[in-house]
């Protein structure tokens, strides 16, 4: 016995409800301060010596800022690109392929960034 609601759950074009919309707003708000700080950081450090860049990035507050920015931006950009793909790609096969590529790209970028930040902060 299945209720009418249970039968239609997960059948929308996005296979989910308002969660993506909500997370997109949450990460948008988090992005504002995080990304502004990040941009200033990159401008200040661009062109500096390796030792000086490492000395700045390995400070605990900056490491945490970087990690927070990476998590928020990656989640945000993955959902954003998913919306674009769902809007423009008609064929089901192509759509699924691109949605997977989008998720894999976002995970890859997030993982590499996280690895790099941890390595800079904890040395080796």
């Amino acid at each position: 016995m299945r209720t009418p609601l249970g039968r239609v759950r997960g059948l929308g074009s996005a296979r989910s409800g308002t969660e993506h919309f909500w997370v997109q707003r949450l990460t948008a708000i988090a992005n504002v301060p995080l990304v502004l700080a990040l941009v200033i950081l990159v401008i200040v450090l661009a062109g500096r010596s390796h030792a000086s860049v490492i000395a700045t990035l390995s400070q605990p507050a900056i490491g945490i800022l970087l990690l927070a920015a990476v998590i928020s931006v990656i989640v945000h950009m993955r959902i954003g690109m998913q919306v674009i793909i769902e809007d423009y790609v008609q064929g089901e096969g192509m759509k699924v392929t691109l949605l997977m590529a989008n998720t894999l790209f976002s995970c890859a970028v997030g993982l590499v960034a996280t690895f790099a930040i941890l390595r800079i902060c904890f040395g080796s």
């Binding site: 200033i40 200040v44 062109g47 990035l57 590499v112």
Partner: protein, 156 residues
């Protein structure tokens, strides 16, 4: 009455199909008789439309640009090839890319805040939308210059 094969055809709903009052009910081929939304070209481009497109384009550009950021971080972490990317980012061309990225980001940021205001149900009127569009244009350019001046001040 003969069977209509296309139950969705506007011919089954004469009231929805004022342009074809004589459409027979016996059609068997699906000609497009449903009301279609007009093609994109018939709209006059407005500023708010351009802003909507710009928000999506900058979002996509920022997406691709994360590659550059991650490459820089990874190079710093492994110290391999750091001088290559660092020298590149510190060159005039590197600065140009960073400057463009900053502008795209601020454009997307202000446009994003505009979306968040809309989500509360405010600012949806025609004059407000136009106002937001100008705030996004002027604000993103101004803030880009301010942030770069701040950056160079901290740089010393």
């Amino acid at each position: 009455m003969p069977q209509t094969t296309n139950h969705c055809s506007a011919a089954s709903f004469p009231l929805l199909n004022p342009g074809f009052p004589d459409m027979p009910m016996t059609e068997t081929k699906t000609t497009v008789t449903r009301p279609l939304s007009p093609h994109l070209q018939v709209y006059r481009m407005t500023l708010t439309m351009a802003m909507s497109i710009a928000h999506r384009l900058t979002g996509a550009a920022l997406y691709v640009g994360t590659i550059l950021f991650v490459w820089w971080l990874l190079a710093a972490a492994t110290s391999k090839s750091f001088d290559v990317i660092n020298g590149f980012l510190g060159s005039w061309f590197g600065y140009l890319i960073l400057f463009g990225y900053t502008w795209a980001l601020l454009h997307h940021l202000i446009g994003g805040v505009r979306h968040l205001i809309w989500d509360t149900g405010r600012g949806l009127g025609p004059t407000e939308r136009e106002f937001f569009a100008w705030v996004t244009i002027v604000g993103s350019v101004t803030l880009t210059f301010v942030i770069w001046m701040l950056g160079f001040m901290f740089k010393g």
